[in-house]
Symmetry: C2
Subunit: 337 residues, 2 copies
Amino acid sequence: MKISDLGEFGLIDRIRGMLPDQTPDVIVGIGDDVAVLRGNGDTVWLVTCDVQVEGSHFLLGAVSPRDLGHKALAINLSDIAGTGGSPRFALISLGLPKDLPVGFIDALYTGLRAEAEASGTAIVGGNISGSKLGFFIDIFLMGEAPEQEVLLRSGARPGDKILVTGSLGDAAAAVAMHLDPTLGTRDDYRRLAFQRFNRPTPRLKEGRLIAKTRNAAAMLDISDGLAGDLDHLCERSGVGARVHADRLPVLPENRILSQEKHGNEWHFSIFGGEDYELLFTAPLDTAETLARTIAAETGTPVSIIGEILPLSEGRQLVLPDGRVVPLEQKAWDHLRS
Amino acid sequence: MKISDLGEFGLIDRIRGMLPDQTPDVIVGIGDDVAVLRGNGDTVWLVTCDVQVEGSHFLLGAVSPRDLGHKALAINLSDIAGTGGSPRFALISLGLPKDLPVGFIDALYTGLRAEAEASGTAIVGGNISGSKLGFFIDIFLMGEAPEQEVLLRSGARPGDKILVTGSLGDAAAAVAMHLDPTLGTRDDYRRLAFQRFNRPTPRLKEGRLIAKTRNAAAMLDISDGLAGDLDHLCERSGVGARVHADRLPVLPENRILSQEKHGNEWHFSIFGGEDYELLFTAPLDTAETLARTIAAETGTPVSIIGEILPLSEGRQLVLPDGRVVPLEQKAWDHLRS
């Protein structure tokens, strides 16, 4: 059996099965984006890593090394944001072909540094390795949070409202426009979409604030697409969910492009990956106030897009005409795709 | 300019120069194998990462995936051992070609798990990524130690004795035998040398004990070869050093192979990499007792191989006939070699 038969998530399950049960100081271990580790006092450590591999995640010619630096760190920061934590320390592991120009590294670190400074992260080390295979960058990020404030994907309960920050589907639209040059849109939206794809903004301030209110029940960042990450949340919480297509925060130009490419207005926003927005749930009685508070204090829109259902109800998508269809998972699988 | 012109250590210096000054909670940052971070209370966190890349560090056909799992974790554990710390948590980042057999991952994790359990390390997460480039494994390891007991490479002072654990040069002999099948030795030494190369034993117990005595001044693990890592220690401590070739802990068969291959008995032990022994210094008045204590309590031999000199004396190698020659650095450079 090849690993592509098993898929990314099958492989993760298999690995978890091979390892011993986790000790009490591991609050969340294998299987989530972020491990939660008991530190001293009532602080917990949040640790995560994410790799960007030439040819799999990006093409060296198609992305600037500076954007690559921004993005490689931003996607890890977004994982920490998804727990409500604050980033602290990063290690940068590089696999480098020998003929790589030094200017590439300079530009890469210009991006890394900007992202680190903006987020209060100290880059404290790493590893440099020659790579005959091509370039890759792997980042290890440690964050922290008060234990009582950490939000996990396992906390959602039936009746909770489902909320998201920002807008969805823009990165997916950028990828679609990159792959299909006949797809046209307004110049300003095109720029915005590519900006969102190349330099995603981790929602750290929003995540920290959501966690501090202690009014949310579950949270994670959307990297695999709304459907995929909602699937992770539902599975870990043992619940179902209903999402209303007409409540999704989608820019008008994105709806048009999605309609043109996929025959419906919500494809990019539901199935597109790399949004790096936050997906969270909150009990019915606090959700609206929470959404207003976060939007007012951060300037980032927060939308209520659906509600958590009992597990038996499955995952449902309510179309604008009122029809209810199954919400397919279609999570991004790094091994199958 | 290509990065191969700059070299690994030149590139690290350049990266350090691009980043902001480090904050007070970063006790040791970029440039060492391990970053030392202030935690809560008087505990510090020790974080490190190390990658093994197909084609650069190993050939998939030449090493068993189980040994690869052992070694990938062992080399990180060795970094923690080199500071006197205890390993706690590991994240495993994998770059996987799609057609890799699942049995490869099973065997890899069998090795990882054995090494984790033997060292008291919890594997708490990681990242799985497709890789069109070939296989790689990158491990992030967090360890900890009481702040007062952390040993850095910067603590050596003139007059200190230089000590090493175990024996040197065996991994280099294995590589030489692998590359040159005409090099013969006794079967039992051949097995030992390949065992040392494929499944190095991180000197965690020894490192922790050395740190706990508070009698050592500086320490690191030997991964780049004795000359290379002594060079790192001297540079960071601002000192010189003298090593006596006839005091090096080298097995007789290793001396014979080194003589046959390089025309002298100490080439493998001084310039060979991947020993994963500990190199440390201790003041004159405590060094002998320290060596005896560690050897008695762990069963691992400890040898006094030289002494720290003022910086102006440079780095010297005393040959068995009494001649003193410069100790060339020849550190393993992952970008140049």
